[in-house]
Every structure is written in C-alpha cells, then in structure tokens.
C-alpha cells in the first residue's frame, strides 16, 4: 500500500504532477485568483488562460449565458499577451510548487510556433495548443476541426520548443478519433479534451442572441456524456496520454474519465460553482481509491469493462 501522498502522483508526458487534477484553461485565471480557496501547491497543474502573441481585449457584449446544466461563454481570448505573461505574471507564479502549463492560440501555424518558442523558458512545464478559435489564414476554418491543420500546428510547435506539447481537441468534429490519430502522428505528447461545444441562446423577448458574439462555447455538466464518450473513443486509438475534461463537478465525474482512458483530468466550469473544486475532487478520488482498496490512481485508467 502506497502512502496517501503518492497514490495520486502521476507523470503526463514528462510533466510530474502531485495528482492528476489540473485546471481548465480560462476557468482558473492565472491560478492566483483562486489562492484564497485552493492551495496551489497541492494541485496537479495550473493551465493558465489562453494566451496570444499580442494582448487581446476579447469580445464585446454579454460574454456568458447560463444554460440547462451548463453555460456558454464567448470571452474571446481576452489576455494580456505572452510578453506580459512572462514578465509580470510568471514570476509571481514561480513561487508555487506546481507545474504551469500555458494554453496558447495563434492566428496562423507560424504564430503557434512563435508562441511556443517564446514560452520555451524556465518555469513553464508545457504548452497546450488551443486550436478551436477561428483564424484568418485558413479562411475561417478552425484548426481544431481539420486533421491536417491540427497536425501542422503540432509539427510547427514541436520544432520550436523543448517542452511537452499538449493539444486540446475540439469536440465539434465528425470523427474525434481521426483527429487524435493525426495529432499523435504529428508528434503531440498528450491530448487534452474536450474544448467547448458550440452553442447559442436567443432572448425570446428581444429576439437577439444573448451573447455578444452570437454563439459561444458550451461547458459544464451538460456536456459530460459527450466528453466521456470522446475520451473513450480516443483512448482506443492513441498511445499518448489523455487529459479529460468536460463537466467534471465531483470525484465520481472525474473517475468516469479515468475509466474511459484519461490519465489526468481538468476542472473547468466547476471552479465557478465551487472555488475549491480542484482540491475537493482530488480528495474525493483519494477517498475512492481507499474505499476500493486501490493503491494508485493509475489503476483506474482505461479500466472500463466492456463486453460487447
């Protein structure tokens, strides 16, 4: 029997984590915002807000809408830019003993490469590629819904960094397994999934979209069944580790993802509801392992019993 200290320790693509509970980019700020509620030294990894080359002020108008068991957001990648992150924010984060993963978005394949290169510095554990934002060069196609573009982004980033490269898959695709295979072949070190499903809410009084951006990304418990299914499908076809997310509120939700094949999980929307969710989920998983007389969380990974 391992001690409770080590039963959650895990290594994802070379990123050593005290437990497999990470934060979903955009839902945990830069980590510091949650320091009243969570001991940042006790969580698996902090994945910071989506970062771009230049500062962005994001979308105008209403940016979130609540939906049944979920929410839509169209923040629009508001962020201070990568340089400001490195000069002003990262130094503060370094005082915590937690891997910092930077989620990045580019307008072109080259921009992803540039971002990766700039971020290939001490204090950053990995980069996570957000390929779900519309871009210009590809004529409105999103990198995340085209296997070749997604693979091109991964290859370009791998050429530019020594850090592990995580690519975050969009669920808005016909064949998620095919996307996963493409990015694995291109050299991705890990896959995180799922990003948000595209959705929309209309105000029946004003006849206008509720969100300033018309559509937004759906997250929260509503999407969990889709996320678990996709993680399971991808786990059948790739060897690289999967970071599962989408609607995780409790340890039990997280365990569904592990059983489906995720090696780690991330907590997104749940942080808004319960600001200590990341720690609570980690504790709950530990309790579950003890109850089930297991010694390490890895004993759950991909253990779904399917007899068809």
């Amino acid at each position: 029997m391992l001690s409770s200290e080590t039963m959650l320790e895990i290594d994802i693509a070379g990123i050593k984590m005290k437990n497999p509970i990470m934060t979903g980019s955009g839902t945990f700020g830069f980590g510091e915002e949650y320091s009243d509620f969570v001991d940042l030294n006790k969580i698996g990894a902090v994945v910071v807000k989506g970062t771009t080359l230049l500062p962005r002020c994001g979308n105008d108008g209403v940016r979130i809408a609540e939906t049944p068991s979920g929410m839509l957001n169209c923040i629009g990648l508001e962020n201070p830019g990568v340089e400001h992150f490195l000069s002003d924010i990262l130094p503060r984060l370094k005082k915590y003993d937690v891997p910092i993963i930077v989620n990045v978005s580019g307008n072109t394949v080259e921009e992803y490469g540039q971002l990766a290169k700039i971020l290939d510095v001490y204090g950053i554990a990995a980069v996570e590629l957000n390929v779900s934002c519309p871009n210009v060069k590809e004529g409105g196609i999103v990198f995340g819904t085209n296997r070749d573009s997604a693979a091109a982004v991964v290859r370009e980033v791998k050429r530019n960094t020594s850090k592990p490269v995580i690519i975050k898959l969009s669920p808005n695709v016909t064949d998620i397994a095919d996307m996963a295979v493409a990015v694995e072949e291109a050299g991705a070190d890990a896959i995180s999934m799922i990003n948000t499903l595209i959705g929309m809410v209309i105000d029946v009084d004003t006849w206008k979209p509720v969100l300033g951006n018309i559509t937004g990304g759906l997250s929260g418990p509503a999407v969990k069944p889709v996320a678990v299914r996709m993680v399971w499908q991808v786990a059948q076809v790739v060897k690289i580790p999967i970071i599962g997310m989408g609607g995780i509120m409790t340890a039990e939700d997280a365990i569904e993802f592990f059983l489906a094949g995720a090696s780690a999980v991330a907590i997104g929307t749940a942080n808004f509801v319960n600001p200590s969710a990341v720690e609570d989920v980690a504790k709950g998983i530990q309790e579950y392992l003890v109850k089930k007389k297991l010694t390490h969380v890895s004993q759950l990974i991909g253990q779904l019993k399917v007899n068809k």
Binding site: D36, C57, I64, P68, S69, G70, I75, E78, V273, P275
Partner: protein, 254 residues
C-alpha cells in the same frame, strides 16, 4: 482580506413587495469584513441553476453576524431563492469586489431600482456625515425603500417615472436643484446603466467626483473567468467588474 465560500443558514426570507424580497443569512465572517459596495455570489441550490448569482450586500449586522440581501425575482435563480425558508442553506462566496470610496464629507447617494439596495449599507457607514439620498423608480409600488434609510440620511428625495410618488421624472431631473441647494463633494450612484451615465455626466459637468456601481453577468465572481470585463476609458486594459469593481470612478468606465 481572504474571500470565503461557506454554507450559510437562512435566518429570514421576507417579502417586501410582490416581487422583491429580503434575505437575511447568517454569515458572520463575511459580515465582519464586508464594506459598502461589495457583493456576495450565492449558490442557490445543489444542482440547477448551475451558476452562482451576484447580490449586493444591502446591509450587515456585525453583532448578529448576518447579511441582508434585497433581491427582485426576475428569473430562474431568484425565483428558486424566493422559495427558500428559514433554516434552509445557501452557499455564500464573499465578500467580493471593492467598495465605495468613503473619503468625502457631504455625499449624495443616487439609487435607481434595485440599485438602491447597496446604498443602504453605504448610508450606514457614511454616518455620522450628512447624507442626502435621491431615489427613483417606475412607480410608487417600487419605492418601498424609505423605511430602510430611516435615521441614515438627512433628507430623502424621490422621483417616479409616473409621478405616483415624489416628483414625476427621472432622478437626473432632480439633480440641478439638489446640487444648487447643497455643497456635495461626492455622488454615489447605483442603478440602470442609462441612469448612471446621465448622473455621471451631470457630476462631471459640475465637477463632483462620482462613483458608479456596475452590473455584469458573472461566472466566477473572483477575477478568473473574464465574463464581466468592461472597457477601461483611462487605459488600454479592460477592467473586471467583479474584482476591479463593481464600484468604479465614473470616468474610468462610463
């Protein structure tokens, strides 16, 4: 001043009008720390609605350890909240946001609609300064606030859109006379956006420092999600209403 998220017990959830209620919750740690202008973000039920709801702290009773939240029933969350009873629990996250700047001597408080709620707490903490309150609403039925300001203001002026109580018109129409009669060194305003804009414009013309309290849809309430940002007129970066606000100097955001 750390923020906390705690299960709080409902002491009372009483009706004020058909669609406005006052919720008193026992939350001593929050009550102790809170300053006027701050809010709490409350999780009303275990499952749905999913997100928390921001409500201004309309008053605190530090001795009793309670917060008062005055809310209008407008949708799913507030309707559910209205059904809760004494001893039921809600989770309160707070105190959130910054508060009003109290470095003034002769303040005018302007409240519109539910924006009048946080000004009660403000009026209390401005004591013993001489405070004037101006409040507006659509009609007499909406102007239930007066007793809540009992003993907190030197004078209370009321406007209603339909003239059913006080002076007919908007709060801003009452400003010229009030400003002529008093030497205000601060205007605090909380209410509908258009009203705050009008009051802020007036304040600027009369060179009276003015603070406003903004409302935005919020997910986290603690500065992490960027749901609530607004344009910063004095700089290039946006401001977060939940942490940089909800109280701003008018010229920053309007």
């Amino acid at each position: 001043m750390p923020k906390i998220a705690i299960d709080t017990t409902i002491v009372e959830n009483k009706s004020i009008t058909d669609d406005v209620k006052e919720l008193i919750v026992y939350a001593p740690k929050i009550a102790q720390q809170a300053v006027p202008g701050q809010f709490v973000h409350i999780k009303i039920a275990t499952g749905e609605p999913l997100l928390r709801r921001p409500l201004s702290i309309s008053n605190v009773n530090v001795e009793a350890g309670t917060l008062s939240l005055i809310y209008r029933i407008v949708g799913k969350g507030t309707a559910y909240l209205a059904n809760l009873r004494t001893n039921d629990e809600v989770n309160c996250l707070g105190p959130l946001g910054n508060g009003f700047d109290l470095t003034c001597e002769r303040p005018l408080l302007v409240g519109g609609g539910m924006g009048t709620a946080p000004l009660i707490f403000l009026a209390q903490r401005l004591n013993p300064r001489t405070t004037t309150v101006l409040m507006g609403g659509r009609n007499k039925a909406e102007m239930f606030w007066q007793p809540m300001y009992e003993g907190l203001a030197k004078e209370i002026h009321i406007t209603t859109d339909d003239g059913s109580m006080g002076t007919k018109g908007f709060t801003v129409s009452a400003l010229p006379e009030l400003v002529k009669a008093n030497q205000f060194d601060r205007i605090f305003v909380c209410g509908p956006h258009v009203m705050m804009e009008a009051v802020a414009k007036f304040a600027k013309e009369h060179e009276i420092p003015c603070q406003v309290s903004l409302e935005k849809y919020m997910a986290c309430g603690i500065g992490a999600c960027l749901s609530c940002t607004c344009v910063n007129k004095l700089g290039d970066k946006r401001k977060k209403v939940c942490t940089d606000g909800p109280v701003f100097w008018a010229e920053e955001v309007l």
